[in-house]
């Protein structure tokens, strides 16, 4: 039978930012299969020039509306590295707690509102308000809890205010932290229900051998700073991030592309899991096993499962952090900062993967040069190269344009891309 298929998606929906998919199959042969980012560039690295060090975190948070806390944290880490600042222990805990809040709100947003509709045969989560309101309320409760964690610790979920060079502006009130702790404890019920829902999803059976990059966990599942590692055995120091990213310009994309041991690599929840699974909380590891997620997993669609696994881990870890914070609630959260000339790098695992900020300051603490490498920038070439493999795999008898369009769209969504971020 003659297999001819066409996929032409202009401005893919249910992803952050603007990208296009194009697949052409003729006589069962993949003629063309592309993922192209067409987002408008904003030139953040140029805008940062001359800015005062206290401004960098506020400005770069605006790179992304979903992972603004992650950007702010990578920015602070780069600045503090350049100015040789060591932040207090309590600030380290508060920053990680804010980060966990962001991971929760972002992963739940993706799983319920961006990814789930495909598995439920819907165009969005909105019809669920009528057909299955319990699911919407489940999503609302879980995502709301993530947002409240961010609000209490960082002052605001989108574009944080309390995360500043030198630490965190203030210790949240004890009663607020304890109320969050109760909520986190209770949320395991809702997480269980979400796992039940996810178990009903039919994850496409597709694999393409891929190199995965993440921060390297030394004693715990890594989120903020540390060495860089890949599943192909590459390892570098945080400051040598360029050896890990190898950015280059593609003529068809406003996002740059990256490569390492192979023509492309992947970052994100699945990348973190594949490199750091041994550091997961036992409950999270058990959930992974229940879903058949095992390292090294090469099915990009399993990123959805890895996100659920991370939510379980992070919820446990957030409870631990609150316990440690309230045990010493008068601990200092800020240190004085003296501007000085220098260079610094901050690597942070944000929801969509590893994020790097690299700054150079003059002696007045004004920015001389900046470089930001975004997780989705690292993923874009990998998504692009997944596309022909996916098309080839599914270009079989009975496949329709609509079905293949859905599969290609689901592939991109599985990476949870943050496209405007990737172009910045």
């Amino acid at each position: 039978m003659k297999i001819d298929l066409d996929v032409d998606v202009h401005h893919l929906t249910r992803v952050e930012g603007h990208g296009n998919i194009r697949v052409v199959v003729r006589d069962g042969e993949v003629r063309e299969a592309r993922w192209d980012v067409v987002e408008t560039p904003r030139f953040f690295e140029v805008m940062l020039k001359g800015k005062h060090y206290s401004t960098a975190g506020i400005l770069t948070a605006r790179i992304c509306g979903i992972c603004s806390i992650g950007h702010c944290l990578a920015s602070l880490r780069a600045t503090e590295d350049a100015m040789k600042v060591t932040i207090p222990e309590a600030a380290v805990r508060l920053r990680l707690l804010a980060k966990h809040g962001e991971t929760l709100q972002s992963h739940w947003l993706h799983l319920f509102f961006l990814a789930a509709p495909d598995f439920l045969g819907l165009s969005s989560a909105l019809p669920l308000l009528v057909s299955d309101p319990a699911v919407v309320h489940l999503a609302r409760r879980l995502k709301g809890l993530g947002n409240r964690l961010c609000d209490v610790v960082a002052g605001r979920t989108t574009h944080p205010v309390s995360l500043q060079v030198g630490g965190v502006a203030m210790m949240p009130a004890r009663e607020k932290l304890l109320a969050l702790r109760d909520e986190l404890k209770r949320s395991f019920d809702d997480i269980g229900k979400t796992a039940d829902l996810l178990r009903t999803f039919e994850i496409p059976a597709f694999e393409r051998e891929t190199e995965f990059v993440a921060l390297k966990g030394e004693n715990e599942y890594p989120w903020i700073g540390g060495r860089l590692v890949s599943t192909d055995g590459v390892e570098h120091a945080e400051r040598d991030y360029r050896k890990m990213t190898n950015e280059y310009v593609d003529p068809n994309n406003t996002s740059k592309w990256c490569r390492l041991s192979r023509p492309s690599f992947a970052v994100g929840a699945l990348g973190r899991y594949n490199n750091n699974y041994r550091w997961l909380h036992p409950d999270a590891a058990k959930a992974a096993a229940d879903f058949g997620l095992a390292p090294v997993c090469h099915n990009p669609f399993m990123n959805n499962v890895a996100q659920l696994v991370e939510c379980i881990h992070v919820t446990h870890d957030a409870i631990r952090l609150i316990d440690e914070l309230v045990a010493d609630e008068n601990a200092p959260t800020m240190v004085e900062v003296q501007p000085r000339a220098g260079e610094g790098v901050g690597a942070v695992e944000v929801p969509r993967g590893i994020l790097y900020h690299h700054y150079e300051y003059d002696e007045e603490g004004r920015m001389v040069a900046a470089n930001c490498i975004i997780p989705t920038t690292q993923n874009n070439a990998n998504i692009h190269l997944d596309m022909p493999a996916l098309a080839k795999h599914f270009a079989t008898d009975g496949m329709t344009d609509e079905q293949l369009t859905l599969l290609c769209s689901m592939l991109v969504r599985a990476y949870d891309p943050c496209i405007s971020c990737s172009v910045h």
């Binding site: 929906t13 509306g65 969005s124 500043q164 405007s420």
Partner: protein, 250 residues
Amino acid sequence: MGYLGIERSKPRIAVFDFTSCEGCELQLANKEDTLAEFLSAIHIVSFREVSSTDGSDYDIALIEGAITRGDEVERLRVIRGRAKVLVALGSCACYGGVNKLKNAFDLDEANREVYGDDPKETLPVRPIKDVVPVDFEIPGCPVSKAEVEHIVQHVILDVPYQFPAYPVCLECKQRYTVCRFEHEQLCLGSITRGGCDAPCPAGGLGCWGCRGPAADPNFEEFFALAKAKGFSDREVSERMSFFGGFEVAK
């Protein structure tokens, strides 16, 4: 939703994003306690970030982001032609936002620096009102969802609503937030339009003026205070130009 037993028709709303971080759209899905009620009061025709349904028959278009490329100008004009009411959502749409900081640099040079020999199209940043007429402006970086809800209530149910004329300062007083100047921090709260509930000063950061000037701001007094507290003209002017809202006022 009925009034005296009469069903009100739901407004048909579309959400569009231009050059931005999409954080303002995200606020529409945040504030989870009223999310279900909010969504059931309106009919979402097009909202690419959360829905694959794409209709062109809408009454109200919410526009996030600034305009920085030729294709965006064309897209915006089509939307303006279809929408009865066009709302600029957030500081990027209202003023250009932080994107506008780019305009201070040579764009060809910026392009070479980022993309090398393969430059990408980019225009000087413009707010929405510089391209098409705008009916409502909701500033903020990000917008306050509570304020968006008030405005939607105003549009659907004629609930009176007026943008606050008072400055952010007033809301700090209402929250018992100690003035950031007392903490030796620069703060634009006395000259910036309120309505955000002053989350930044409460979180330990002086106001950055994302909502633009309050009605009849006392710039003279503000400049004098900032100077007396030891902040340089450069610091003050950098702060005021950060989100683009004070461009006209300066």
